[in-house]
Symmetry: C2
Subunit: 355 residues, 2 copies
């Protein structure tokens, strides 16, 4: 078994849809953590329990009409680089990328929802949307939760809510997050001062690739830290409030940059464009950093020939596993991938420029 063409060959179309606040927020995401009632939590469960949980869930979901069109992938049957590809598509987590027995994932046909089986929790549902669309991802997530909840009995405590392997997920089991693009604050060295207070508001900041990842290209993922003691609505509302505030700060920073160093910003944006359209090899980090500048160029009206869609797609396609699977780059050497990455970027930007 390899990943079906419906996942690999298809572009994630939701990334191209026009989205609210996409000049600052690139994606919104939410997930629920759920566990099967009466079964040991996955991190401490012996293989036999994991297998039992896996079989029970698959059997139950087989009876559900909503989940039927989803692609089902057994992680033991996909290769490490295929798992990396799924991770780059944000369909599985870093934890799931490691693979492992009795782990599986259901991927929705439109590639924006997935169900992870035997990750840290027995079940994790996740939904993605373009731009700032927290109510939309929450609605999609609730539907998934309801559908699966009809056929799988969840571990639930009247006082604590949904029970989870890690106490930070207890209660609602909800983690809602938005990916923010903050080049204005970054150039003005105001990231620290703006993001440092977030933990006091129960929020966590991560880099582009989620937990433990470095900030790459001025992308910052903001999410709720705990899910206990608040309603889902409250969690999402508080996140949205801070995100709105950060958006304002970012736009303020950009307008200050225009007033105070317009030439410097234009220079940085056009140099990024010049390098991206001419380099013969480029690594992922540099590509992300320069694409970030280009995105600022689009948002600020300097780069008129490009769109968010082109950049959204590129930010995904320049990742190593995408280069291997979609563009035939030799996976063996990073030199080959750097060359394939440079070629892909040149081609996409020049195509977009001549449209």
């Amino acid at each position: 078994m390899t990943i079906p063409a419906g996942i690999v060959a298809k572009e994630p179309e939701w990334l191209f849809e026009p989205a609210p606040c996409s000049n600052v927020v690139t994606t919104s995401r939410a997930r629920f953590a759920r566990n099967v009632d009466g079964q040991q939590f996955a991190p401490h469960a012996p293989p036999s329990v994991l297998e039992e949980v896996h079989d029970e869930i698959l059997e139950a979901l087989g009876r559900n009409k909503f989940v039927r069109p989803f692609f089902l992938l057994e992680l033991t049957e996909v290769t490490a680089s295929e798992r990396a590809f799924l991770k780059e598509r944000r369909l599985i987590s870093k934890e799931m990328e490691r693979g492992g027995a009795s782990r599986a994932v259901y991927v929705a046909p439109e590639l924006k929802s997935s169900i992870l089986i035997n990750e840290e929790d027995h079940l994790r549902f996740q939904c993605l949307e373009n731009g700032l669309q927290l109510p939309q991802v929450m609605a999609a997530l609730e539907q998934l939760d309801d559908e699966v909840g009809e056929v799988v009995p969840y571990a639930y405590h009247d006082r604590y809510g949904y029970l989870t392997a890690c106490p930070t997920n207890l209660g609602t089991g909800l983690r809602a997050s938005v990916m923010m693009h903050l080049p204005g604050l970054s150039i003005r060295n105001e990231i620290q001062s703006n993001l440092q207070p977030l933990p006091q508001h129960g929020l966590t900041v991560r880099g582009f690739h989620g937990e433990n990842s470095e900030n790459s290209g001025d992308y910052f993922q903001i999410s709720n830290e705990v899910s206990l003691g608040k309603s889902k609505e409250q969690i999402v509302e508080e996140l949205a409030e801070i995100v709105t505030l950060l958006m304002e700060k970012e736009l303020e920073a950009r307008s200050l940059l225009h007033r105070e160093s317009r030439l410097g910003i234009q220079d940085a944006i056009w140099r990024a464009y010049g390098i991206l359209t001419h380099a013969r090899r480029i690594d992922t980090n540099e590509a992300m950093r320069l694409l970030s500048r280009l995105r600022l160029g689009i948002d600020e009206g300097y780069v008129k020939e490009l769109s968010h869609e082109t950049l959204n797609l590129l930010a995904m396609e320049v990742q190593p596993a995408h280069l291997v699977f979609r563009h035939g780059a030799d996976a063996e050497t990073s030199e080959n991938r750097d060359q394939a990455r440079a070629e892909l970027i040149r081609q996409r930007l020049l195509e977009a420029g001549t449209k």
Copy 2:
């Protein structure tokens, strides 16, 4: 008095002429140092003597048909930025750029020869040519020397030859030099090992802007150190020999680069092109460094839409005084010049690219 249009508005056409070995040698240059017999050397002479020397030479040259079409400029009558302009054109030396009473310069109409009055010596003749053309610059220099020698009595000693203010110029009074472009050796970190032995052969290495200047854009000026105890022919021959050797080393380095890191070289060249055609501000040093990469790209056949002529002209035009005089850049701030420089480069490269 300002610099005549024949100098400022005219492009130095000799820079555009096809020239031998121009893939490694950008220009050849030679100068003679001469002094007026019976007069004190300039560095220690009181103002009255300098004035006397100045008047004597001008009076004599006024009677010479060969020098008649030359532009005569009194340094007291040109501004500091006009002197900087003449220096960038290599028509006067760094020493003359300082200005000073009783100093003057004659500039040949084709802008490749000049006669400097009351520099370190009473008279300095200098001639320039494109590429490796030492015999040609020597012939032009001899002619100038002969013509002036007919009307001005030179200080000459039967045993030591021409007498000069500094003993390193004693004898022939000749300094011959070539400007070499050595990106191959530079990228391979072989500049040191190849240039360090030169002083043992009586040669000196300098940067793009001559004495005490930093190496900028992998340009190295190689010239004879002393001019005593050897004939002019011997000096030129020995210089030509070493230059030929260095040319071979440079071409060897380039071909090794192609074999060992072809992609890296192409990447460096095209990134330079990408930045130069997109930057909105750029300082002289970065411009020189990137133009140097582009020159390598032309020489190695990667950049087909550009020529040495375009780059020769640009390397001159990106200098600060040229930006002010020929492109109206506000001389007050380096920010304005950086912007004007970026605009000029973009325009020139894009024009050349669409031809």
